[in-house]
Symmetry: C2
Subunit: 300 residues, 2 copies
């Protein structure tokens, strides 16, 4: 599978997924869910201020079948309740509604009732629909400066995401400011260490770095620079050296290149839909679709 | 002036600038110079392997008027000689030909014969021709992680560049991973410090930050996020938190959004044309044009 269109088609043929939405009283979130109902078929628990949720649903003519509204006026209790529905398997995807990110994430990583796993790192993966297929960028949202070990976790989690989305042997580019190891740029040193590590450890992917962005995504640039590594413009996954670099890349692809996108949060026990108010409607819908494709039940 | 077309038109009416090119025996470099001869009118000293240079000039039918070829077969001597031509005022712009970047830069910063200034920081500025006009990104090429003081120098140098290119009161966005100060992200802390600094010190520009890229370049995103600062999608200059973030932004704008670009090196006593082999012909030509606009003699 290489396009959003194909992903939507496949999901519409698959079993319905169930989302638990914390503080669902947000028209844009509900509109995205309504579209998801229509295009791929979903079920949802909408937690939050019940009266407001019902009123908004009516305003946008959102169907009530497969939807359960639960009254949780307090945001903290609401987030914990939504997390619990996912933890006990009643829902398969957690979604953030109109709630402070801090309160939402606190529930996600709650030591007793949360969705943290023993080995995962909570991370954002932006998925871009480029001409070559899906391109996965991590982590533009959570860890400011991932350590070597955290980058290893990012590689492994994102490889799993890419495989779920149909890429058999993902090509992982460890991005830095240049393609040569430079002691003054720690990302280049760590990229080299990671590359060596994955020469010994086969997780069903190709890992190359340090790479500059042009070599990772442009065959022409790789050719011009006579780059002879394993990735020459055909990277599937970009492991970014910092949150800032990932954030800037993701946003420039959206705002300058107008590339369709969605983003999911990985590293928890279930996929999390964590969209931002500034994401447009299509991005919110794409994100729900990516999350559906990543649930344990789905095998596309 | 807001477009490359306007810039070329104005330069074609202005006094010819003279370039000193170190190791000019490179067909792509000579082709760019030939185009610059035709479009804006330039003079050039071509230093390097004289025979090769003359042969290549003949192959691409490059005109010999206003061109002086000087035989410097040794790259180090060649770079120093080119730098000296600029230092003594014979040429107004230095250009890198087919020469190792390290050797070239060593000549640029030579303590006795180089082009270093007392207060400047050698930095790359990528100039992008967006729908809104020129957007200046610094530093995608030299300093891995600029300090607070180095960022101050970057602000001041790039403001001068933007003014030379027709932006009267440039809007300077200090880019970070988000628009809030986050103690775990030093770029956001330093952005706030810089913003405060420029409230006391007027250098004829607007400085705002920390800003995420979307708020800096997209009015829509700034509106969605209810951002009320001085820059709302209309930044002219982006001061990037790291080389990696700048490099990734510049390259994604080129490779995904296909935005016309050129880049110049600032902070030396004269503009420097420092193109990479992977830059296409148009980028090399644009870079020469930007350098011409930045010479002391030119007043567009």
């Amino acid at each position: 599978m290489k396009t959003l269109k194909e992903l939507f088609a496949q999901l519409s043929q698959s079993q319905n997924q169930t989302l638990a939405v914390a503080n669902a009283q947000d028209k844009e979130v509900l509109s995205a869910l309504k579209q998801a109902q229509e295009l791929i078929g979903i079920s949802a628990f909408l937690l939050g201020k019940e009266e407001k949720i019902r009123q908004m649903m009516a305003e946008i003519s959102m169907r009530e079948d497969n939807v359960t509204v639960l009254d949780y006026p307090d945001p903290e209790e609401c987030a914990l309740a939504a997390v619990r529905l996912v933890r006990n398997g009643t829902a398969s995807i957690l979604m953030k509604g109109m709630i402070d990110s801090g309160i939402f994430l606190k529930a996600v990583i709650h030591p007793d009732f949360g969705l943290r796993t023993e080995s995962g790192i909570i991370a954002t993966v932006a998925v871009m629909e480029t001409e070559r297929g899906f391109l996965f960028i991590t982590d533009p949202g959570f860890t400011p400066l991932p350590s070597l070990h955290q980058k290893e976790l990012l590689v492994e989690q994102t490889v799993q995401v890419a495989k779920k989305l149909g890429i058999e042997r993902p090509k992982v580019a460890l991005i830095s400011g240049a393609e040569k190891v430079n002691q003054k740029m720690s990302s280049s040193v760590e990229a080299d260490q990671l590359k060596q590590m994955y020469r010994q450890k086969d997780i069903g992917c190709v890992v190359d770095g340090p790479l500059s962005l042009d070599i990772a995504v442009s065959q022409e640039a790789a050719l011009h620079k006579n780059y002879c590594g394993e990735i020459r413009g055909d990277a599937d996954i970009l492991i970014m050296p910092s949150l800032e670099a990932g954030n800037v890349l993701y946003k420039s692809m959206v705002h300058f290149a107008h590339i369709p996108t969605g983003g999911i949060v990985t590293g928890a026990a279930a996929p999390i839909v964590f969209t931002s108010r500034s994401d447009d409607a299509a991005t919110k819908l794409n994100t729900i679709a990516f999350a559906c494709a990543l649930t344990k039940e789905i095998c596309l």
